[in-house]
Amino acid sequence: MSILSPIVTIIRNQWASVLVWGVMFAIGAQALQLIMLMLRFDAFPNYLITYDWVGNAVRIINSTPSVKDMFPILFEEWWIEIGFMNYDFGNGISEWSLNVIPSRLFILATMGMLLKLFVVLLGQKSCSPKNTAFAYAGAGVGTLLISMTTAAMSWVVCCAAPSWVVGLAMLGLSVSASLALEGLGPSLFFSGFFFLVGALLFLSSRITKYGEDGKRIDALADCIDARTQSSDVGITNNINSNSDSSTLSVRT
C-alpha cells in the first residue's frame, strides 16, 4: 500500500465532501479577509465592482506573446473588487479594497481541500507511536503561510497595487518590514504548501508501514492483526464509503 493510498481512498470516497470543503474554505477565507479589513479601517465597504474575468483572461492570452509572462499576469487578474471609497477629496478615492482573484480562490480552495484531508486523516485510528503534534504544527504553519501570501488586498498607500505585503502593512506590520518581506512571497507560499502536504503525508504514513517484503502494508490492519492475535477480538477492516469521518473504519 502506497503512502498516498489513504489519501486517494478518501478523495475517491468523499470527493464531494472534500470539494465542498474547498469551496467553502475559499469563500470563508475571503469573507474573513473582508471582515479584518472592516475592523482594521473601522468602515463598511461602500462599493463593489465586478470584472469580466473571462474576457480579460482571453485578452491577456491573446496579447502576451510569452507564456512565461502570461501566467503571472493571469494570476493577478481580478474578478471582484469590494472596498471603501473616500469621497472627502475629489470624485472619490478607493481607500482600501479586497480583490477577489480567481487564481487565489483556486489556491484557497485547494488549501481547504487539503485541510479536509488532514481532518479526515487525523480522525483515523492508528497504533503508530508517531506524534500528531508534528502534523498539527506542519498544517498550522502551512495554512498560515499560504493564507498570508495569497491575501489580495489593495491600499492606496501602497500605490493600490494588490500584494500580499499590502495585506501585512494594512494589518499593522511596519512598511519597511512589509516591503522587506515582499520578495520572499513565492518562497513562503511554496513553503506553506510543503508544510501542509508534509503534514498530510505524515498522517498518512501513520496508517501505513512497510512489510517484510519491502512493500507498504496497512499499518492499521497490521496493528489490528497483532491485537487480534493477542486479545482475540473480532476486527473488520473495510472501506467505508459512507462515513464522513473515516475511510478506514474499525469495529472491535
Binding site: R59, S66, E77, G90, S176
Partner: protein, 460 residues
C-alpha cells in the same frame, strides 16, 4: 438560359459577399484604453482635459489605413500610478499617465518581462526643482522646518513621488531613517490625520499639500523644490499598441499639447471646468495651472528629465529592489516629435525652453480672486495689501489670494505665507525660517497675513 442566369446570380452573390467581408476587414475597431488620475493635477493634460474636451477624438487619424477605422475610447480613473501599470500589463489599458516614480516602476516592470514593453513617449508637465511634492504639518503645529522631524511620526504614500522626495529630503538634511517613524498613509488618510492633528507630518504629491493649506488644516514646512530634483509626469504606451497604431499615439500627444494650450489660454475658465470634472477646488488648481503656477505644461522630453528619471530609479533601487531599467530602450522622442511636426510646432525650441520659477516668476503680480469679480492682479505688495484691506473691510467674499515666495519664486496662498515687514516693504515667504532670517537681515519683523492687511486699513 435559366441555368446561366442562376450561375450569374451565384457569382454576383459571391462577389457581393466577398466585398462585404473585405469592407468588414478594413472597418477595424481600434480600442484605445487610457488610465489617468483625476486627483493628480500634473496628469490633467493627458487625462481629464483630453477626455472632457474630446481632444483625442479631434486628432485621431481618419484617413489612409484609418479611413474606415472605428475607435472605441475608454477612460479609467485611478488614485495613483501603480494600478495603471498593472492594468497595462494585462492589456486592459494601452496608454497610462503618471508621475515620475510610478513611471519608473512601469518601465522597469515591463522590461522585467520577456515579451512586453512600454515606451515613455511624452511628458505632460513639470516643476524644474520639484514643487508639487511637499511635507505638511498640522496648521497649529510648532514644527516649522524639516530638522524638527527627527524623532517624529511622518506619513507618506509609500511608493509615490512624495515618498521618494521625503527620502531624499531626509537624507539631504542628515536625518537617518532610524531617526523618525515612517508611516504608510494614503493621501486622503494623511490629509484627515493632518486635519485632526493625529500625525506630526505628512508628505504628499500634487495637489494634496495645497489642498490641505487651502482648507486651512495643514501648513507646508518643506517644498519639493528644496530637493532640486525635477518633478515630472509623463505618458507611457504599450509598445505593441504603438507599433500597430503609431498614428494614434501621435494623435494622443497632439491632444496633450492642445490641452496645455487650452489651459494656458484661459486658466481661470480651465480650473473652473476642471473643478467640476475632478472635484478638486478650483482655487487649488489655479495655484498649479495659472501663470507662475507650480506646473509648467510641456510634452517635450528634456535631457534633464532623463537624468532625473535615472536618479529616481536609483532611489527606488535602494529602497525596494526595483528591476533594472534601460532608459534608452524605454524613452523615445519619435512620437512627440511627429506630433509637434504635424502641429507645425518647433520641438527643439520648446525642448530647450526650461521654466525656473525663481527666474520666471520674478515681477509677476500678486492676485486676489474675488468670488464675483474674478481674479485681479497687483504689481506690488503694498497695492495688493491695500486692495485686500478694502475688500475685507467691505466683507467681500474672496476665494483665494496668491503671492510669491521671496526666496524661491513659488506661488503661494497669501494666507499661508509668512510675512516680513521691513520699513515700508513687505515680503512673503514659504517657510518661517527664511522669513526670520530675512527679517533679521533687514531689521524687519515677522507678521501674519492679517496683520499685514491691517497695516493698510484706512481709518474713518
Amino acid at each position: 438560359m435559366r441555368r446561366v442566369n442562376s450561375r450569374l446570380t451565384a457569382l454576383a452573390a459571391t462577389i457581393a459577399l466577398s466585398v462585404g467581408f473585405a469592407n468588414q476587414a478594413y472597418a477595424e475597431k481600434i480600442r484605445i484604453a487610457i488610465g489617468h488620475q483625476s486627483m493628480c493635477t500634473d496628469t490633467y493634460t493627458a487625462g481629464i482635459v483630453i477626455k472632457e474636451m474630446k481632444l483625442l477624438e479631434k486628432h485621431l487619424p481618419k484617413t489612409g489605413k484609418y479611413a474606415d477605422a472605428e475607435y472605441d475610447i475608454s477612460w479609467s480613473d485611478y488614485s495613483s500610478g501603480g494600478p495603471i501599470t498593472n492594468q497595462m500589463m494585462a492589456n486592459k489599458l494601452n496608454i497610462g499617465v503618471m508621475g515620475d516614480y510610478p513611471l519608473i516602476v512601469n518601465g522597469a516592470k515591463f522590461q522585467e518581462t520577456e515579451s512586453l514593453r512600454t515606451l515613455y513617449v511624452a511628458g505632460t508637465g513639470y516643476n524644474l526643482k520639484g514643487s508639487g511634492n511637499a511635507i505638511v504639518v498640522p496648521v497649529d503645529s510648532d514644527i516649522y522646518s524639516i530638522d524638527q522631524l527627527a524623532g517624529k511620526e511622518v506619513s507618506t504614500p509609500v511608493g509615490s513621488a512624495a515618498w521618494g522626495m521625503l527620502l531624499k529630503a531626509m537624507q539631504d538634511n542628515g536625518i537617518a531613517s532610524s531617526d523618525y517613524i515612517l508611516k504608510n498613509q494614503s493621501p486622503a488618510v494623511g490629509a484627515a490625520n493632518i486635519a485632526a492633528g493625529k500625525i506630526d507630518a505628512h508628505s504628499d504629491f500634487c495637489p494634496w499639500s495645497e489642498l490641505m493649506e487651502y482648507r486651512g488644516t495643514g501648513r507646508k514646512i518643506y517644498d519639493g523644490s528644496e530637493t532640486g530634483i525635477p518633478y515630472l509626469h509623463g505618458v507611457v504606451v504599450r509598445e505593441d499598441f504603438s507599433s500597430k497604431y503609431p498614428e494614434v499615439v501621435t494623435a494622443f500627444i497632439k491632444a496633450v499639447y492642445e490641452a496645455g494650450e487650452w489651459i494656458r489660454a484661459d486658466p481661470m475658465q480651465a480650473v473652473t471646468l476642471m473643478e467640476g470634472w475632478t472635484g478638486v477646488e478650483k482655487e487649488v488648481l489655479y495655484l498649479y495651472f495659472s501663470k507662475g503656477g507650480h506646473l509648467t505644461l510641456d510634452p517635450t522630453i528634456k535631457d534633464a528629465w532623463i537624468d532625473a528619471l535615472a536618479f529616481d530609479h536609483t532611489v527606488l533601487e535602494k529602497e525596494k529592489a526595483i528591476p533594472p531599467l534601460d532608459l534608452n530602450e524605454w524613452i523615445t522622442e519619435d512620437f512627440v516629435k511627429a506630433a509637434y511636426s504635424e502641429l507645425g510646432k518647433d520641438y527643439e525650441a520648446e525642448k530647450a525652453d526650461v521654466v525656473d520659477a525663481e527666474v520666471a516668476n520674478k515681477g509677476l503680480p500678486n492676485e486676489i480672486w474675488h468670488s464675483r469679480d474674478g481674479v485681479t492682479t497687483y504689481s506690488d505688495v503694498p497695492s495688493f495689501l491695500t486692495a485686500m484691506a478694502q475688500m475685507t473691510g467691505t466683507g467681500a467674499k474672496l476665494n483665494a489670494t496668491y503671492v510669491y515666495d521671496s526666496e524661491t519664486g513659488l506661488k503661494l496662498f497669501g494666507k499661508t505665507a509668512f510675512w516680513v515687514k521691513s520699513g515700508e516693504s513687505y515680503n512673503a515667504f514659504l517657510r518661517k525660517g527664511e522669513a526670520e532670517e530675512f527679517a533679521a537681515r533687514q531689521s524687519g519683523e515677522l507678521i501674519d497675513f492679517e496683520t499685514a492687511i491691517a497695516n493698510f486699513v484706512k481709518e474713518g
